[in-house]
Amino acid sequence: MAESVRQMSALMRKEFLLEWRQRYALNGMLLYIAGAVFVCYLSFNTRRGQLSPIVWNTLFWIIQLFTAINAIAKSFVQERASRQLYYYTLISPQLIILSKILYNTVLMLVLALLGFSVYAFVLGNPVQDVPLYLLTLILGAVGFAASLTLVSGIASKAENPATLMAILSFPAILPLLLMLLKISKNALDGLERNSSWNEMGTVLAIDVIVITVSWLLFPFLWRS
């Protein structure tokens, strides 16, 4: 147990170092989300606070979705195949997928919080229950990272990863996205907290299912 925790932390350290050394990718993601928000702002061409809450909320999550797909798509392609083979000789594949999921969660959290603040800054912030909205962002980051990491692993083995990533992940992420939209709409309207518990339970259950499936299936994926 202690050994695998040590290995996990080493892997996480490697992921962060790698990201830090190739800062253009990280900066690219940050610019991507800021740019997407700004494009939406200019396209709607509204003054602040004139979007209806449903449009405001949906638009935000669509931006999140596309950012997540773009950010996570590269988690298996940025390192060379031979180097990945080297990792696989060192540690168990389960630890690799867990560390990737964990790292992507952190990345998604950073992107989501940045996205939310830029979005609220330019398009106005109609959210009435901000802590609950932030909690939704966290749940969303975990869910997106968990379900997209395995999909990006699958897509990276194929000929045209970019297209495949999109068509494989849209349907797979949809149950999660619908639930998140619902909770965040509740937070937006400032409804009672306990009206969202059901959906929250569902999101957590989906996260658990997806992480378990990734844990079970990844050892088969890396062998090919």
């Binding site: 999909v151 194929a158 000929e159 349907p171 149950p175 997806v210 088969f220 994926l221």
Partner: protein, 219 residues
């Protein structure tokens, strides 16, 4: 003959279901009227589809454990048949919805979930198309198939029940059997489920045999 008894059974059941389903007496319900007969065709198609998808997922697991190409072939053919059943289920469903709910594709969570599920399985076919190496294709599509099934189940069974739905048995609606079906209808409905499932297995079996012949010819 010994091995083919279930095909005879499928033919007998399906003949019975079609005759009895179109000619038998049904209770006259408001709004539903004669369209209640669709319960013999629309509902069993979905039941059979889910059984076939489960079988496909089981064969994908078997492929990952054993690595025999044959298991992969069986898994993909079961998925193909399920997609066919899904399309037929959508067609019969929109016919029914047109008469009872007023439009062929009402904005209903169950319909939308199913549409997403179908997209997921079509993506599976595209994923298969994008590999040249056969072993790699089999392995990775098996992984995706299991993953897709794990997402498909909450999509179909959990989500529609959390929101308001037009479908019976969802969103607080009573299930269909509770008020609308009488025992005469059950005598057709339950065999119909078995019949459609057997028919699906039969279609799959033919396709699998065709695939095996092709594989043997290639070698």
């Amino acid at each position: 003959m010994k091995k083919n008894w279930w095909k005879v059974l499928a033919v007998l059941i399906m003949t019975y279901v079609v005759l009895k389903g179109l000619l038998g007496t049904v209770p006259r319900q408001p709004i539903l009227n004669e369209s209640i007969r669709n319960v013999y065709f629309h509902v069993p198609l979905w039941f059979a589809m889910i059984t076939l998808l489960l079988t496909a997922a089981v064969y994908s697991v078997r492929y990952l454990r054993s690595g025999r190409p044959d298991d992969d072939l069986v898994a993909v053919e079961f998925t193909n048949t399920s997609i066919l059943y899904g399309l037929l289920g959508c067609a019969t469903g929109s016919l029914w919805a047109n008469f009872t709910w007023g439009e062929p594709w009402p904005n209903d969570p169950k319909l939308n979930s199913v549409a997403v599920g179908m997209l997921m399985y079509m993506a599976y076919l595209i994923l298969r198309g994008s590999f040249d190496d056969e072993q790699r294709r089999a392995r990775i599509s098996a992984i995706y198939n299991i993953f897709a099934f794990a997402v498909f189940v909450p999509l179909i069974f959990v989500l529609p029940r959390l929101t308001d739905s037009l479908h019976p048995g969802n969103g607080g609606n009573p299930a269909f059997g509770k008020y609308d079906m009488d025992n005469a209808m059950r005598m057709v409905f339950y065999p119909a489920i078995i019949g459609f499932t057997l028919l699906g297995i039969w279609i799959t079996e033919l396709r699998v045999r065709l695939g095996r012949v092709k594989a043997a010819l290639d070698d």
